[in-house]
Amino acid sequence: MIPTWVQLAYLLAAVCFIVALKGLSSPRTARRGNLIGAVGALLATVVVFWERDIDHVLPILVAIAVGSVAGVAGAQRVQMTQMPQLVALFNGVGGGAAALVALLELAELGEVASLGEVAEFDLAATAFTVLIGSLSFSGSLVTFAKLQELMTTRPVLFPGLPVAFGGSLLAAIALSVLLVVNPALWPGVVVAVLGLVVGVLLVLPVGGADVPIVISLLNAFTGLSVAAGGYVLGNTLLLVAGTLVGAAGTFLTRLMATAMGRSLANTLFGALKGGSTLGAGEASDRPVKSTAPEDVAILLGYAQRVLVVPGYGLAVAQAQHTLRELVDVLTERGVQVDYAIHPVAGRMPGHMNVLLAEAQVPYEQLKEMDEINGEFKEADVVLVVGANDVVNPAARTTPGAPIYGMPILNADEARQVVFMKRSMRPGFAGIENELLFEPQTTLLFGDAKQTMSKLLNAVKAL
């Protein structure tokens, strides 16, 4: 029997998690919410040592110390641009931990089972935890590799992928049933391996631009596997916390998919239907108009209304501070400048807001898409810095394109469009942008930071 005070402490921790999620959904309370969540987690981690007799306390404490150092180091060191893949990685290791916990529990249940005292439902929940946990682990690692560009960001397809995916999933379910009927460790291990395979096959066909949605989905999966693990261990806190994350994560996944104009099914399986074949993934050699920083400086310096569309390339080049300076100088000259922020600019919804906040761009200058989209046709110049897919008209015009249906910024309605780009390589979605070849468009090639500095000096010299 778990001591009552321990159970009450778990309840308190669960309440902390609920308050944390509530706090995180509003800008004013977000930071406090996160802190409350951390307090709840700390409370649970301390109290667990009194739940029942815990052996090996010293090695466990050492392991917790190692994990804490690794976690803090990773979280502190990461560049804000690389944060999405770090979240994916954290999610993956959480899923891996859940799968390992369930396997260990299975080894114990297997021994008890010979006495014929194990409920089938316990075993089913164990199998579920192993399968979903390992799926989340390997799937998250693949998303990490995609975001870190250790592998291609384009959908990876090979003949027989759907068959391999379906086959592995069915085999995993069949073995789970076997495990329930005849409890033993080995089917559990095989389920774990199959879970790893299913996770990889699930994420491979997902195109780069859709990866954030998949991270969110895998996050929800890990939550559910933690919840099932909680049931197996008879721990209400794990059940509540895991279910909260599972439910909130699923809902959040839907919100994100809607913000990108995608359905979840389309995100996961769109590539299988051949929807992404348009993606060339290579630099185009069609003719474009390129220009020099001095010309752009004149264009910007004598404009009345300028809109800046920042993208991931801006952050990669760490040019957001120089951009802010440029905007400050233009504002002093009397030019009205705003940033047009696409909801999924960067690599995740809200990522660009974080990056620009880091550069201390005033909040009032950040305009969300719905707010600003009507103003593009009155803009003299739109300066697109390191963005591509979020202004690609193919989202409106080309039904086969992987981003078709995604709401975009109406940069093509402005009088002049200036793209600052490193090269003619397409954006994360891997498709060509027609806007680059339009008559009102000019391109300023080069590293965003260097070009931005030149542009800044040229504007100052006007």
Binding site: I18, K22, L24, S25, S26, P27, A30, R31, G33, N34, A41, A44, V48, F49, R52, D53, H56, V57, P59, I60, V66, G67, S68, A70, G71, A75, Q76, R77, V78, M80, M83, F90, N91, V93, G94, A97, L100, V101, L104, E108, G223, V226, G229, N235, L238, L239, A241, L244, A247, A248, G249, F251, A259, P343, M348, P349, G350, Q360, V361, E368
Partner: protein, 117 residues
């Protein structure tokens, strides 16, 4: 206590209610907070650490102990790293709303960035 409700139904009740709470508490989130919210939720499922400690604490073989300790490390990375990185993201959101304190917060993030580079 010999109640008329079966344990399974109690568990199911907790599960179903948690689903509704989970959806309800985040239903009004603005799109700018999607990333921190995902990251925070991610940190919360790091509470699997509790489960990892429980199974490791009852490990009877060396192999089980090793696997358990690996699970403890992974779960701690998830939990601790998750909360820290979420706080780092939100620190930047907080900094720009208040005009004056923004300087101190901005200065801090600026200096850590300089060391990172």
């Amino acid at each position: 206590m010999d109640s008329a409700i079966s344990a399974e139904v109690v568990w199911l009740t907790i599960f179903i209610l948690s689903v509704f709470v989970g959806v309800e508490v985040i239903s009004k989130v603005s799109s700018t907070l999607h990333t921190p919210l995902m990251s925070g939720a991610n940190a919360i499922h790091g509470v699997i650490l509790v489960g990892a400690v429980l199974v490791t604490g009852s490990a009877e073989s060396a192999a089980a102990l090793v696997v358990g300790l690996i699970a403890v490390v992974l779960a701690t990375v998830n939990m601790v790293g998750g909360f820290v990185v979420t706080d780092r993201m939100l620190q930047m959101f907080g900094g720009r709303r208040r005009e004056q304190p923004a300087d101190s917060a901005g200065g801090r993030s600026g200096s850590t960035k300089a060391t990172r580079q």
